[in-house]
């Protein structure tokens, strides 16, 4: 502000200085005998052009650019204020475009572009394994404990190697049991992920000693919820799963552990990690060669590369593999933690970012067009100014200032809108979207939003501004511009404007079409079960009361008939893991007297069920029969179709005997059922062998209730029965099977929703743009239209003329846009589901939709132009 004041002051001083000069000159002339009037004009003549001299003098002060800029801003604001309709339209479209871009960028930036919120995040990587013989089914597995320990000892490129796995402790007090999200973590895992303790301490190496490992670190949220932020909790012991555990520390609230789903398809971690306990490996766990349970994260030594680490680990792995007695080949894989965590979501976000970029471009093209029309209306003003000696550069700068002003206003409103838009978006985002908790609108995002706004202003302002400054006064002032039809140049500009909007919309629509088709295919995929009206309750039986198998069988024996007896219930069943919820109890199936080596036997999920599981989920019987109560006391098994085919490709399996799992006794195959999708709705499921729960009763299981009512209505009653049967059995999760299926398609739905929103806006903006271009050109051609009609042209033939001209540009744009989309689709083909990047229906639908929209958008102004007949058109001037 002081700057302005100082300039005002200097202006006054300059005025005074020149006034004094003129006064003295006048006085001297009068003294020489010149008449006062003559003296006045003579002194002025001698002095020269006063205002010009003042201006050049002011230019000497420096800050001329700023002075001009101030003037330009004032001028632009005034002229924008005169045309409110234009200004509001421009700012509104810009604001919407910029807010969409800001929201998507803030998500993409936090999820994909920024390093993970862990110290030296770029050096962190995940180690996973693969059993070569099972690579079809499990491309990646978590690590085996003995392998992890060996890598930790011998990998010279690694600074740290840490491991963790899910556990399920229950908190028991006053007869109530609550399952808490538990992770067993090696002592170095928490520091590796940058965790700090706000109270007490984290684990030390000594805590991994099995004898002294009953210590627990609480998450900040759990500490607040369960212990009311009581700081004396550190040092106390709490009862977890029937033992006393000592609380040694509380984590800082800022700590964000990775989620299980972010680390791989088979990796599981609790959704909500509430406590950490030390990874105290027992002798048995250290030597279990068949267990691949541990999520392993390592940090490179400074200077070491991931390739070197991979090489080292691979050579260690070769020795490990050679020592195995089962002849399985075990490979090792490494990948940067960031890549693993962000995964395919990153690619999806990049598509969305490209989509908002396309929208911003369409907005720019549209505004360019609006500005061209606006400047064309002011060609006379510009011509007069140039004729009077205005600097063309100044004209260009003034026009640019106007567009920058629009851009800044649009940017400010757009960023303000995104403060609401972002929470809205996050609300609809799937809950297991990676790193979603980190997303905020922060300085970095705001700076980018500001830069994008200014860039947008330049982009849509530069062509009209150059055109504006390039006015030919002689030409413009001589002719009557309103009645002139456009020259070749303007026609080309119009074709480019229409074509580019259509092209970008076509590309967006095509991508949306591919994702829509994928989504529909996913919804109609044969999951192998029906999700209608089934309630699922997860239970976990505390080892303290249900240590013996017969205790567990007793629980299920009692609870299942009581659940089935509830009013409105079709069937009640049990399974240790639901379809779509992952892989567990994976083992090799063997025929009776199987001669094949272990490595060649088919791998299957062993599921413990009862007949109610099949009926509740509508799994179809293909052959034989389901498990029945009369099967108690003998070993029976039901196989999924593909499991049966893998064991006996050409024979009837019913009545044959096989071993589900290496150490099991032989069981008779009594039935074949349809295949189910085990972990991912978009991938064929694994083989499954079903055995009755009474043969091997699970500690953790899901109870299923098929009903003819709204399943959630049964929750309270079902919980009451479970509490009544098993006093200390916690119900850790309740949901409907429908929700499980919905969750499995949630990321796809979310992405499609956004893409469709963007494509829809693109089409709307583009149609408004075409309408604007055509109606503007028709106003300028009203004279030509009048003459044509006076000479006897039919209205229809004029419509045809206008439509043909526009459609030429539209077709060109369509062709370019779809070609672009086809190239881009090749890049993101991994994100499509059972849809080829070249999809004929979409390829036909997109041009049809856009041609129709373009036709309507250009017919409306064309009809209006010819409505009044020849006279009206000629008189329009």
């Amino acid at each position: 502000m002081r700057f302005f004041n100082r300039r005002e002051l200097r202006n006054d001083e300059l005025d005074a200085e020149i006034a004094s000069h003129l006064a003295m000159a006048e006085r001297d002339l009068i003294a020489k005998g010149v008449s006062p009037t003559e003296a006045r004009s003579a002194s002025l003549r001698e002095f020269g052009n006063v205002s010009h001299i003042k201006q050049t003098t002011r230019d000497m002060w420096g800050g001329k650019l700023f002075d001009d800029f101030k003037f330009d801003v004032k001028y632009a604001a005034r002229s924008l204020n005169r045309t409110r309709g234009f200004t509001i339209t421009a700012i509104a479209t810009l604001a919407l475009g910029i807010s969409a871009a800001t929201v998507i960028f803030s998500v993409a930036d936090h999820v994909v572009l920024r390093p993970l919120p862990y110290p030296d995040a770029s050096r962190l990587f995940v180690i996973s394994e693969q059993i070569k013989e099972m690579r079809e089914q499990f491309p990646r597995l978590p690590s085996n404990a003995s392998h992890y320990l060996e890598w930790k000892r011998l990998c010279t490129e690694c600074e740290t190697i840490a491991a963790m796995e899910q556990d399920g402790l229950t908190y028991t007090s006053e007869g109530d049991a609550e399952q808490i999200g538990t992770v067993r973590a090696s002592w170095n895992m928490l520091p590796l992920l940058g965790a700090r303790a706000v109270l007490g301490r984290l684990f030390t190496e000594g805590d991994e000693d099995v004898a002294h490992s009953k210590v627990v670190v609480l998450s900040h949220a759990y500490w607040r919820r369960k212990f009311g932020s009581d700081s004396t909790v550190v040092g106390r012991t709490i009862p977890l799963s029937g033992s006393a555990w000592q609380v040694i520390g509380v984590l800082a609230p800022s700590f964000l552990p990775p989620k299980g789903a972010e680390l791989g398809t088979v990796e599981t971690l609790p959704k909500n990690i509430e406590v950490f306990i030390p990874l105290a490996l027992t002798e048995q766990q250290r030597n279990a060669s068949g267990e691949f349970d541990y999520i392993t994260i390592a940090k490179l030594k400074p200077g070491a590369t991931l390739a070197q680490a991979q090489l080292r680990l691979a050579s260690l792995q070769k020795e490990i593999s050679a020592r195995r007695t089962d002849k399985l080949t075990i490979e090792v894989f490494t990948a940067p933690l960031q890549d693993v965590m962000v995964g395919a979501s990153g690619q999806g976000l990049m598509i969305l970012l490209a989509a908002v970029g396309a929208i911003l471009l369409i907005v720019c093209v549209n505004l360019t067009n609006l500005l061209l029309a606006r400047h064309a209306g002011r060609a006379r003003e510009a011509a007069v100014r140039v004729a009077m000696g205005a600097n063309r550069g100044r004209l260009v700068r003034q026009a640019l200032t106007e567009s920058l002003l629009l851009a800044v206003a649009g940017g400010i409103i757009g960023v303000t809108l995104s403060r609401w838009g972002l929470p809205l978006l996050l609300h609809f985002a799937p809950s297991d979207f990676p790193r979603i908790a980190e997303v905020t609108l922060d300085t970095r995002v705001l700076v980018v939003a500001g830069a994008v706004s200014l860039l947008t202003g330049l982009l849509f302002g530069v062509v009209p501004a150059l055109r504006y400054g390039n006015v030919e006064p002689a030409h413009v002032l001589k002719s009557n511009t309103r009645t002139m039809s456009d020259g070749r140049n303007a026609l080309q500009t119009r074709a480019v404007l229409v074509g580019s909007q259509v092209g970008l919309s076509a590309a967006l629509l095509y991508a949306t079409g591919l994702f829509l088709t994928s989504f529909v295919r996913v919804l109609h995929v044969d999951k192998g079960f029906s999700e209608e009206q089934v309630l699922a309750l997860d239970v976990s039986l505390p080892r303290s009361s249900y240590f013996r198998p017969d205790q567990r069988v007793g629980f299920y024996d009692e609870v299942l008939p009581r659940l089935a007896a509830m009013p409105g219930v079709r069937s009640a069943g049990v399974v240790n893991l639901l379809p779509l919820e992952g892989e567990t109890n994976v083992d090799a199936l063997s025929r009776e007297n199987d001669q094949r080596p272990d490595a060649e036997r088919p791998i299957a999920n062993i599921r413990k069920v009862d007949v109610g599981y099949f009926t509740a989920l509508g799994v179809t019987v293909k052959r034989g029969r389901l498990i029945s109560a009369s099967d108690r006391g003998r070993n029976v098994v039901v196989l999924s179709e593909r499991a049966a085919r893998a064991l006996w490709p050409n024979e009837n399996p019913i009545g044959k005997r096989m071993q589900p799992g290496g150490d099991d006794s032989l069981a008779e195959v009594i039935g074949i059922v349809g295949d189910i999708q085990t972990s991912n709705i978009e991938r064929e499921g694994s083989l499954v062998a079903y055995i009755p729960y009474w043969q091997r009763a699970p500690i953790e299981a899901t109870l299923l209730i098929g009903t003819s009512l709204d399943p959630e209505l049964l929750t309270t009653a079902a919980r009451a029965i479970i509490r009544d049967v098993g006093k200390v059995v916690p119900v850790s999760r309740v949901r409907t099977v429908q929700q499980i299926v919905a969750n499995s398609v949630a990321p796809r739905r979310f992405q499609l929703l956004l893409l469709a929103l963007f494509a829809g806006s693109a089409v709307i903006i583009a149609s408004i743009g075409i309408y604007g271009v055509v109606s503007h050109s028709l106003v300028k051609r009203s004279n030509e239209i009048g003459v044509r009609m006076a000479l006897g042209a039919e209205r229809e033939s004029i419509h045809r003329l206008v439509v043909a001209e526009t459609l030429k540009a539209v077709t060109l744009g369509l062709a370019t846009g779809i070609a672009l989309a086809l190239i881009l689709a090749q890049l993101f083909r991994a994100l499509l589901f059972e849809v080829s990047p070249v999809n004929l229906p979409t390829l036909l639908a997109v041009p049809s939709v856009l041609l129709l929209v373009a036709l309507v958008a250009c017919l409306i102004p064309a009809r209006r132009a010819t409505r009044g007949g020849a006279l009206m058109a000629l008189r329009a001037d």
Binding site: E13, L14, A16, E17, I18, S20, H21, A23, M24, A25, R27, S41, R45, E46, F47, G48, N49, V50, I53, T56, T57, D59, M60, W61, G62
Partner: protein, 121 residues
């Protein structure tokens, strides 16, 4: 309105020479703008075609370069005027500009005095 025809021998000021003229004129003591204009006109024998007003952009430029300093004061006629004065750096600059001017005029003089190639042969 009668407009006196420009004297046939009035010449346009050479680019950049106005600075030199102002610095030189201020060498004799502080002056206000009008006084300077009068002085330049008188000293040039009315031969320079220059608007009186055009010294102001030059004055303000020289002031910004700190070669001259300005302050408000009173003229003999009790008129409030802005008075300009040469600074120390201004004096050095004057020497620089004078040397350059002298070299230029020697050079041009030499060219004009040299016999043309055709005459020499």
């Amino acid at each position: 309105m009668s407009k006196s025809p420009p004297a046939p021998d009035r010449i346009e000021l050479l680019q950049g020479t106005l600075d030199l003229i102002i610095l030189q004129s201020l060498c004799w003591g502080p002056r206000h703008g009008y006084g300077l204009a009068q002085m330049i006109r008188a000293n040039s024998g009315e031969r320079l075609q220059v608007d009186a007003g055009s010294i102001y952009p030059a004055l303000h430029r020289l002031e910004r370069q700190k070669w001259i300093a300005a302050a408000w004061g009173l003229a003999e006629s009790k008129q409030r005027v802005r008075i300009y004065e040469l600074t120390e750096t201004g004096k050095q600059q004057l020497t620089v500009e004078r040397t350059r001017w002298e070299q230029l005029s020697i050079a041009i003089g030499g060219i004009l005095a040299a016999p043309s190639a055709s005459e020499a042969s």
